[in-house]
Amino acid sequence: MRASRMRATRLRAVIAAGAVTALTIGLAGCADSDRDNGGGEGSASGGTFIFAGAGDPKNFDPIFNDDGESFRPIRQLYDTLVTHKPGTAELVGGLAESWENDPSGKVWTFKLRQGVKFHDGTALDATAVCANFDRWYNMKGEAAQSQMIYYQDVFGGFAGSPDAVYDNCKAQDASTAVVTMKKYKGAFPGAFALTAFSIVSPEAIKKYDGDTVTQNGDSFSYSAFANEHPTGTGAFTYGGWNKATGEITLNKNPDFWGDKAKVDKMIIKIIKDENTRKQELRAGTVQAIDYPAPADRKALAGEGYKVLDRPAFNILYLGINQKNPKLKDLRVRQAIAYALNRAQLVQTKGPGGAAVADQFLPSTVLGYAPDVQKYEYNVDKAKQLLSEAGATGLTLNFYYPTEVTRPYMPNPQEIFTVLANDLQAAGIKVNGVPRPWNGGFKDDVQQFGKQDLHILGWTGDYNDPGNFVGTFFGRAKPEFGDDAMTEMFTAIGKADATVDQAGKKTAFEQVNRDLASKWLPAVPIWHAPPAVVTTKNVEGLVPSPLTAETFNTVSLTK
């Protein structure tokens, strides 16, 4: 009895000592607060704009990124030589006031803005611009090169590669940079506006070892420049990324060359769950969210939130694989096009503002042809064509992705169901093959071409027809039956190589007509405008068709 009492007393003593220690530590304030309690610029009247991002950025060095979540902060921190007029895909001057190319299309001359400074105080001049081009071209190491997805795609390769497009860049004078390519590339000048090709401070790259990407085990690590000291010319400067709270802070750049930011601070709060983003918006803890679910758009608009549609700059299509001999017959492919009730699909499953697509690029892109052959919904016509082609009782494997949503494809399973029903109604038997996006679908469809039909799409990177039809149909791909359409590859290649813009427009218009009437490698389904939703007090946010918004125009009303 006595022993147990003693034990109880000891236990109580230990608990009491612990409590006293904890209290003492707490009251002593044994750590210093890092808070900035001074007035300073942060306390000015512009306020803080909080945008809910959907995922972590990879890092803040533009050239090593290729995804929207990384590009969102990067666009606020940096500028490109050429940019887009707000709210459109039209090219206008960025860091370059103007630009021109020689008749061969290989030499690009950029007249730079005067007096622009990087966030580290160094000047943006032709030497700095050329240092960027040279940096990309001369990047060393497979680790770094493998992360330059856009560079590889647009510029063909690096120093020493026979496919490399870039030759050299000369600073003619402080404000004139002349970039010479080895060969003409149709992607320019549109591709100069790609966020990946934003101009960074060469001094900061040197100081923070920007070119170093090292492999460690299964992955890469990036430089202090990419992670902690991103230095551009943008409307905001980098204020830090608190990874424990998922907040990226951007501060107003008082020396910005363009329209200075109206808010003092912008926070990108990373909230990965779509439903939680919506709830935070409703709770008033964030002021803008991206990509609301189609079902929520109406409700949010009804509650007084601003649902801002971006002009559609994407395409969803039904791909047809001509590796299947039956599908080599144009009449069968046309039958499939006639069998699809796309207008109803848009109405029932499309995001608000979606429109039926009759070709593979949006109307704002050069080369859009208003007079392409259209395939209005007509089951009888579909059946007749199948009968003429001797393809009645056709059975097709229809691949669709699971565990994914895309701006152009918010609900793949539902889209598949509707399209499959339409095809069955025309007498085509459909075997649905659901495959996980990562770990089946992309490999099976794009590498191995296992499917007969599939749904897939694309969001444009820059305003050029080659970025749409060239990407899909410009070369042999297992997705559509490899070398089935050599005539098509040649026509697209020629159109893309036309230097004269008027000639290029005419050539791509004809490509689009032929794609619809002669080749039909796929059926365009819809262009869907992804939306951004803000609270009532957010003014001045201009939605971009390329989802390339800069937030310097945003202000907060009371």
């Binding site: 750590a31 590889q152 990562n438």
Partner: protein, 335 residues
């Protein structure tokens, strides 16, 4: 006692080595991989090849395994494929978030569960007992993510009492010392940050606590009922001991043994619940890290380290539970 601890530690090392091997080959047998996840729609065959080579995935699997083992032995888990940060940084940032949440949940579960279970047993067959049984049944059977969404919908969207997600209000600018936000606020005298973090903790902790709370109530109730039927309680009563003395010294103390076991097991299992709770509340702890790493990006290095950490935590918690028997039950010590 020392021998017991040593034996357990050796078991832990063996378990971790076996798990390491299993995890390595299991992850690589999954369809898809980081190359696909990283490249997305814009992959050209050249970039795919370049990335595969740069990551070393073109080498035979045993070469990759050898490299992995060498790194693990030297304490290098590599960098996150998704973010490029050292895995140890990524995990040490998420760990306090999950521990803070789990500790809060276990405090709620034990703080409410033991007294409620005891009261239910004391009032066996009466209204309090019946209500407790029904409530615990609901608590055990309701899916945690459903409860999370339900609580969130009522209390953050309808009534606006609690914040919908996160560990602290955006823009709070709190100083991070230990990663435990409630504690950090106290340490740095940023009491508003501490209060704010506590306010954010309420709903997730309640959600996570539901299942352990229900289980602890039921086990406590059953255990107390068993003890109340024991002869020594009747003896204590017969020799005229006061009721509070009997309850404290004889009933609770003896009834607590199975409860402690279940508390230990539930603490280990909290990580599983945390995956769902953290997802619902955008909590940013280990649970979120697991879903992020397995979902889109197949972040092998982070996943490998996380699975090893979870196993280590489970083994250590169970060791602590075993040792705690010795404190509560002198018979164990004698044995």
């Amino acid at each position: 006692m020392v021998r017991v601890i040593l034996r357990r530690l050796i078991q832990l090392v063996v378990t971790l080595i076996a798990l390491t091997t299993l995890v390595f080959f299991w992850l690589r047998s999954l369809p898809g991989g980081p190359v696909d996840a990283l490249l997305g729609e814009r992959a050209t065959p050249q970039t795919r090849e370049l990335l595969t080579r740069a990551l070393g995935y073109d080498q035979p699997i045993w070469v990759q395994y050898g490299r992995f083992l060498k790194n693990v032995v030297t304490g290098n888990f590599g960098n996150s494929i998704r973010t490029g940060e050292p895995v140890t940084d990524v995990i040490s940032r998420a760990f306090p978030a999950t521990v803070e949440l789990s500790v809060a949940a276990i405090i709620i579960a034990v703080g409410l569960g033991v007294p409620l279970g005891y009261l239910a047993a004391r009032h066996r067959g009466r209204l309090l007992d019946n209500t407790t049984i029904i409530v615990t049944l609901v608590g055990i059977s309701i899916p945690i993510f459903f409860l999370g969404y339900l609580l969130k919908d009522w209390l953050t969207q309808g009534l606006h009492i609690f914040p919908p997600s996160g560990r602290i209000s955006t823009g709070m600018d709190n100083t991070d010392v230990t990663g435990f936000f409630v504690l950090d606020g106290l340490l740095t005298r940023e009491l508003d940050a501490s209060a704010d973090a506590l306010w954010h903790l309420v709903l997730p902790a309640l959600t996570l606590a539901t299942i352990p709370l229900a289980i602890i109530i039921r086990i406590t109730r059953a255990s107390v009922l068993d003890v109340l039927d024991e002869d020594y309680i009747r003896t204590a009563d017969a020799k005229g001991l006061r009721n509070p003395t009997i309850r404290k010294r004889h009933v609770l103390r003896n009834a607590l043994l199975p409860v402690v076991t279940i508390i230990g097991l539930q603490t280990g299992a909290l990580l599983a619940g945390a995956v769902l709770t953290e997802k619902v509340y955008n909590w940013g702890g280990l649970g979120t890290l697991i879903t992020d790493s397995i979902g889109g990006s197949r972040d092998y290095p982070v996943l490998q380290a996380l699975i090893l950490l979870a196993a280590a935590v489970f083994v250590v918690v169970n060791l602590v539970v075993d040792l705690s028997y010795a404190i509560i039950d002198p018979r164990v010590r004698v044995r």
